[in-house]
Every structure is written in structure tokens, then in C-alpha cells.
């Protein structure tokens, strides 16, 4: 004698199972949820909320997660996601794929002008990006969207934004005081140890070729193919990208270049690259800039310690 499968048994039976499981798997976690905001939580401003609507309408969530995991290294990895970060998110935008970077902590990573240039054409600031162009949104919506993105990370984003705003004022002041003062200002903010450090690797064809490749993938959009600061992003950025060709004879050491590439120049569109590029890649691209655009490289000069075993 087997179970008699009548229409009632099928329909009522399966509905009853669904109801029970919905209670356990959906309602129970809902009823026992913890609404306590996390330490970084704050509510979004109306403009940020409007930017979030633009984010949703254009399906940004399909490529950008907002979900930092314990195993992550990249963007925002300093802050593992907590349930209390999301207590005002309707809908929650965790995402399911990282075709682009996680944006949980994007706020304040870059200044506003970097984002505008990047939205107009992502290849302007990130030459290898496969993100679509969002110039069609128009200036007003791009600014609203930027407000949302700059708020990602909530209180932590606010902290980073204050830093961006402060240093942007300083960077603009330096830029407007002329090239000599600007270059000095930039170099003076590099710690002394780095300022007096020559590039420890000798100039080689292979190293220059690697530096060239890195330059094309990371630098070209702002500094331009000939290093004059006239890349496609330039019209959208202020202060504008640095023109390397004016640096000859201004005591730009390999260490200064390395430090600026590694750490970025907060307040300007120059990002830090320490997450993207390992040590040798930064030295290589720095030497590429020194050799081809500044026409003055200190590679392999003293003090350099014991020659590395691989050196030619």
C-alpha cells in the first residue's frame, strides 16, 4: 500500500511543506534578527539615497558586490562585513559576482573628480576596465551617484572623505603656486628615508618593457602615453595629473617615485597602488617613468648595498 496521490494530497501536502519550511528558513531568521547597528553605521543622506536608486536602476549590483569576506585582500578588506552594517539597506545589495571590485568601503578611496572621470568613461582612469560608460546619465545624476559611492563604508567613508577634502585643498594650493613649488611640495611629503633612496634595480631592457606594460595598464589614462599629464582623464581632474617631463633636474629619486606610486597622493586623483602592484612592479614602472619621461634615472646608483645575485 503506497501513499495515494490525490490532487488534495499533492496540492495541500506540498503547500503545507512549503509553509513549514518558509517558517523555519525565512520567518524564523527574520523574527530573531539582530537590528543593532554596527559601529560604522549611520543613515544615508537623501542625496546618497537618490544615488543608490541610480545604482539599482542601472544594475551596478550585478558586477559590484558589497560583501567583504574574511578571505578578501583587495578593496575594503580591512573591514569584514557585519550584519549591523546593512540595517538600513532596502533592498540589501550584497551582489553575487565580482566582475568589478567590491564597493563596501569605496567611499573616500578616491576624490569626487576621479569618480566623475571614471563614470564618463571607466577607461579614462582604469585603462583595463570592462565597466560600461555612464556618461549617458548626465552630469547631475553622475554627481548624485558619486555621493552614494562616496558614502559607501558609512562612518569610515566619512572619515576618508574628510581626509580627501583636506588634502585636495592643500594639493590645489600647491598646484596653483606653480610647478616648482608644486614639485617641491610633493617631494617634501615623502618621508626622508624614501627621498634619498635610489631605485635599487639596474635599468635593463626587460625591466623597462615590464614598466611600459604596467604604465599602460595603470597610469596612461591620467598621465598620458608620453607622460605629459594629458591623458584622457585630464580634462575632468583638478589638480590635473602631473606632467613628468618637467621633472628633469629636480632631484626626483627612485624612492620618491616608488613612495608616491605605492601610497598615492590623497586629495588628488592619484590612487595608491600598494594593493595592485608588488614591489618589483612599482620599481619597474617608476624607472620607466624616470628613463623615458624624466630622462634622468638613479637606478642602481649608490647607496645600493650588496648587489643582488640576479643583477647583470
Amino acid at each position: 500500500m503506497t501513499l495515494r496521490m490525490t490532487p488534495k494530497a499533492v496540492i495541500i501536502g506540498s503547500l503545507a511543506i512549503l509553509a513549514l519550511i518558509t517558517f523555519v528558513m525565512v520567518y524564523w531568521p527574520y523574527a530573531t534578527r539582530d537590528d543593532t547597528p554596527s559601529n560604522i553605521f549611520r543613515f544615508r543622506s537623501p542625496e546618497e539615497a537618490a544615488g543608490r536608486d541610480i545604482y539599482i536602476a542601472n544594475g551596478c549590483v550585478y558586477c559590484h558586490s558589497q560583501s567583504i569576506r574574511t578571505i578578501d585582500w583587495g578593496h575594503g578588506a580591512e573591514r569584514i562585513a557585519q550584519a549591523g552594517d546593512y540595517v538600513a539597506d532596502r533592498p540589501i545589495l550584497l551582489g553575487s559576482e565580482r566582475t568589478g571590485v567590491d564597493l563596501s568601503q569605496e567611499g573616500g578611496e578616491h576624490p569626487d573628480d576621479w569618480h566623475i572621470a571614471h563614470f564618463i568613461n571607466p577607461r579614462y582612469t582604469r585603462p583595463n576596465s570592462i565597466m560600461p560608460l555612464f556618461a549617458f546619465l548626465g552630469e547631475k545624476k553622475l554627481h548624485t551617484l558619486t555621493r552614494y559611492v562616496q558614502g559607501l563604508g558609512l562612518k569610515q567613508a566619512d572619515h576618508r572623505m574628510q581626509r580627501q577634502i583636506y588634502w585636495k585643498q592643500e594639493a590645489i594650493k600647491a598646484y596653483e603656486s606653480g610647478p616648482v613649488a608644486n614639485v617641491k611640495w610633493l617631494a617634501d611629503h615623502v618621508p626622508a628615508g624614501w627621498r634619498h633612496l635610489p631605485n635599487p634595480y639596474p635599468t635593463t631592457d626587460a625591466g623597462l618593457a615590464r614598466g611600459h606594460m604596467i604604465y599602460q595598464q595603470f597610469c596612461l589614462g591620467c598621465h598620458g602615453p608620453i607622460g605629459d599629464g594629458m591623458g584622457p582623464a585630464q580634462p575632468h581632474l583638478y589638480p590635473p595629473p602631473l606632467n613628468f617631463t618637467i621633472l628633469h633636474g629636480r632631484e626626483i629619486s627612485g624612492g620618491i617615485l616608488y613612495y608616491q606610486i605605492m601610497n598615492g597622493i590623497t586629495g588628488t586623483a592619484m590612487p595608491y597602488f600598494k594593493r595592485e602592484l608588488e614591489s618589483e612592479k612599482i620599481w619597474d614602472v617608476g624607472n620607466y617613468v624616470a628613463v623615458y619621461f624624466i630622462n634622468q634615472s638613479d637606478a642602481n646608483q649608490e647607496p645600493r648595498g650588496i648587489d643582488s645575485s640576479w643583477e647583470p
Partner: protein, 456 residues
């Protein structure tokens, strides 16, 4: 189980309408998939055309595949075989036609709303509230029509395909409302982590309570009919049916293993994901033992051939799915193209193969003529088979490259040049799928229309 006397009297108008719905939307759905895949290679291609931006194309692709192509294809078969299994007519062919019409209006509204940026931003639950209501009305009308047909049946016993169809349409009506948080018209969402839990509960139910049971229903009808043999085991049918509903509804949270949701919920999701082996293998053993020694007859019928290939894909995608639910595996596979590959094996390899198999199985039996072209149907079979196997290889490879590079500390941006080639291969395979959709639509239209010059 087929009765020729009843068959002759049936008009199958609803089944025909859903055949055309499915074949037509397959073209649009795969075109959107191909468009999205192309944008990942050449992001400047549709320069600033707002409605072709990737983030709008992707949900159009996904929604059209689920609700435009695969579900109507499977329902076409259901509207064909229910009257035959129940020895009665469809309760109302007229209502069926109205349902199909409303279904198509809903799909057009879905495409327009998503293309113009009206989205609720939740995967598989993007559609705005008025369209959600249309979807629920469509499913409600299907439920009503099919349940009334069951009620008027002449055959007292319900065959296993009938159980699955009835459960699929009623459970989806309910789970669609829950998942789309339909009592919140403005947002269609809960707040915070509970929203993620309810979303993936629903997202997985679209596969577990809609595509899978309908596909299984079609397989349970097509395979025994094609080989003229009884089903291997009634007991296995029963175990498979009830265990599918119990187990599948528990596993949605395996999408959230790396998210701060309650641990007990993750444990249930992982354990039940492994337990999915039970409903999957019970069904497959039942259908494969039924087909044992009769593969020649399956091969001879292009519809049955599609369906049988779909069952093999079901085996692969389900075992893969169970493995993917393990936290240690997800450290590599989560957030990358591995999962996209998995979704394509499941929906294209399993559910869509069976949906198309159902169409090719029922169309000659509806018209009383052979297909317009068996060759074109075979060509479509091979294009899809090569395409989906290719997707599996390519996307799994990309996923492994991405996942391992990320674990190793490389940024998403750094990995882009390494995977470009695979995106090219993936779009190339998409051309095969899109071509097959055009071939299928042509073949199905020509098969359903009176042949030119044919006798009246």
C-alpha cells in the same frame, strides 16, 4: 498512457500558444545574453546607449530565459500531456489562450521596464510591483486551468508528471509572492540581512520549485512514452517528489555562506545541499532504469533525445551544486564565473534542453505531421550541446583563475587581462546558442503552420 481517441478531439491551442511563446522569447533571451557577453569583451561597443548598458541587459537576459523561454516551453508540454494523462480536455482552452496572451504582455512589460531602468535591484526579483502582480495572475490562471482539468479527469489515478506540474505551479505562485515581498509594493524588499535570506530562498525556489519539477514532469512523460514502456518504479517517483520539495526549499542560504547570516541557517543549507543527491538520484535512477536498453528509441525521437540529454546535465549540475555548497569549495568559487557556468548547465543544459525536447516531442503529435525539419532540430541540439559544454569548460576555467588569483591577493582589476580570452570564447559560444534559437524558432513556426501547398 496515451489515448488516441481522446487525442484526436483535442485542439491543443494553449499548448501551441506556449510553444510559440517559448520559441520566440528564446531568440530575445539568448540575444540579450550574447549582448551582455559581448560587452564584457568590448565595453565601449554600445557607446552610452542607456538601455543596452550591461547592468540592464543582464536582468533582461535572466528574466527572459526563466519566464520567457524555459517556463513557457515546459508549460506547453504540460498543457499537452495533462489532458492525455487525465483522459479529459483542458478545462478551458480559451482561458489558456488568454493566459498565454497575458504572459506575453507581461514579458514585454518586463523588458521595457528593465531596459528603462525600472528595477527593484534584487536578482531574479527585479520586476517592479505591477509586473509582479501580472506574473502572479499568469501563474494563478495556469493553476486554475490545470487544477480544474485535474478535477474533471476521467482517469482516477494521477501519473507522476501531474503531481509535479500541479506542485510546480502552485508552489511558484506562492514563493514568487514571498520572494518578491509583494506586500511591499514600493521596494519589493525587506531590510538588511533578512532581505538576502528571503531573496535567495526565493531565487533557489525558482529552480527548485519551478524549473526542476516542470522539467522532471516532462521527462517522466516523454521518456516512457517515447520508448512505450512503463515507468521503472512508482515508489521511487514518490520518494523523489516529496524529497525534492522538502530538501530543495532548505538550500537557498548556501548563496550566503560568506555573509553574516545565522550559522544554524548555513548549516541547514549545506547539509540539505548535500542531501539534494537523494531527490536527484532517485529521479535519475527511475528515468534511466526506465530507459535501460532502449536508448535507440530515444535517439530516434529528437524530442526524447533532447530530454535525455537534459537528464544527464541534471546529474552533472546537481552533483556540482552539492559540492559547491561546501564552504571550503566556495572560498574559490564564490563571486566569480564558476557560478555563472553552473547556472548555464542548470538552466540551459538541463531545464531548457528538456523544455525544447518537450516542444519537439509534442509538436508532431499536435499537428499529426512530422517536424518541418528533423535536420534543423538536430542541428539545434548539437549547437546547444556544444555551446553548453563549452560554457561549462570556459566559465569554470575563468572561475578557477579568478577565485585562486583573488585568494592569492591579486585584485579584480589585475585579473581582467588574464580572463579576456575566455570572455571572447564565451561570447563565441553564445553565438552558437543564439543561432540555435533562430533555427529553432523557424523550425517550430514552420512545423506548427500548415505546410505551404499542403492539402487543406
Amino acid at each position: 498512457m496515451d489515448s488516441s481517441t481522446t487525442s484526436a478531439a483535442l485542439t491543443n491551442r494553449t499548448a501551441r500558444a506556449f510553444c510559440l511563446t517559448s520559441a520566440g522569447w528564446m531568440v530575445m533571451a539568448t540575444l540579450m545574453g550574447l549582448t551582455g557577453a559581448t560587452e564584457l569583451i568590448a565595453p565601449d561597443l554600445y557607446h552610452n546607449i542607456s538601455w543596452l548598458v550591461f547592468g540592464r541587459v543582464r536582468p533582461i537576459h535572466v528574466n527572459l530565459v526563466l519566464f520567457g523561454f524555459v517556463t513557457p516551453g515546459l508549460l506547453a508540454s504540460a498543457f499537452y500531456f495533462l489532458p492525455r494523462l487525465l483522459q479529459t480536455e483542458i478545462y478551458s482552452e480559451r482561458l489558456g489562450l488568454i493566459t498565454a496572451g497575458l504572459w506575453n504582455i507581461t514579458l514585454v512589460a518586463a523588458v521595457i521596464s528593465l531596459a528603462t531602468g525600472y528595477s527593484q535591484g534584487r536578482e531574479y526579483a527585479e520586476l517592479i510591483w505591477p509586473i509582479d502582480v501580472l506574473v502572479v495572475v499568469c501563474f494563478g490562471l495556469v493553476c486554475f486551468n490545470l487544477f480544474m482539468t485535474v478535477k474533471r479527469r476521467q482517469e482516477p489515478l494521477l501519473y507522476v508528471s501531474v503531481w509535479y506540474v500541479c506542485a510546480a505551479v502552485i508552489l511558484t505562485s506562492v514563493t514568487y509572492c514571498i520572494g518578491n515581498v509583494i506586500w511591499q509594493p514600493n521596494s519589493g524588499a525587506l531590510v538588511g540581512i533578512p532581505d538576502a535570506i528571503i531573496l535567495w530562498f526565493y531565487g533557489h525556489n525558482i529552480f527548485g520549485l519551478l524549473l526542476t519539477p516542470l522539467s522532471i514532469a516532462v521527462a517522466y512523460y516523454v521518456i516512457p512514452t517515447a520508448i512505450r514502456s512503463p515507468l521503472y518504479s512508482h515508489t521511487l517517483s514518490l520518494i523523489g517528489f516529496w524529497s525534492l520539495i522538502v530538501v530543495y526549499t532548505h538550500i537557498g542560504t548556501h548563496h550566503l555562506l560568506q555573509v553574516p547570516v545565522p550559522t544554524w541557517l548555513k548549516v541547514i543549507a549545506i547539509v540539505d545541499s548535500i542531501a539534494m543527491v537523494i531527490p536527484v538520484m532517485v529521479f535519475l535512477i527511475n528515468i534511466w532504469y526506465t530507459a535501460k536498453g532502449k536508448l535507440g528509441e530515444i535517439h530516434a525521437d529528437i524530442g526524447a533525445k533532447f530530454v535525455f540529454a537534459g537528464t544527464i546535465m541534471y546529474f552533472f549540475v546537481s552533483i556540482q551544486g552539492s559540492i559547491m555548497a561546501l564552504p571550503q569549495v566556495q572560498r574559490v568559487t564564490h563571486f566569480n564565473n564558476w557560478v555563472v557556468g553552473h547556472a548555464h548547465i542548470g538552466v540551459l543544459g538541463f531545464a531548457a534542453m528538456i523544455a525544447l525536447g518537450g516542444l519537439y516531442f509534442i509538436i508532431p503529435r499536435i499537428t499529426g505531421r512530422p517536424l518541418y525539419s528533423r535536420l534543423l532540430a538536430d542541428l539545434q541540439y548539437w549547437l546547444i550541446l556544444i555551446g553548453v559544454v563549452g560554457f561549462t569548460v570556459v566559465l569554470t576555467t575563468v572561475g578557477l583563475i579568478q577565485g585562486n588569483a583573488w585568494l592569492n591577493g591579486e585584485t579584480v582589476y589585475r585579473v581582467l587581462p588574464e580572463i579576456h580570452l575566455y570572455y571572447v570564447l564565451r561570447a563565441s559560444l553564445g553565438v552558437l546558442i543564439f543561432s540555435s534559437a533562430i533555427i529553432g524558432l523557424y523550425n517550430i513556426i514552420r512545423s506548427l503552420l500548415p505546410h505551404p501547398g499542403a492539402r487543406a
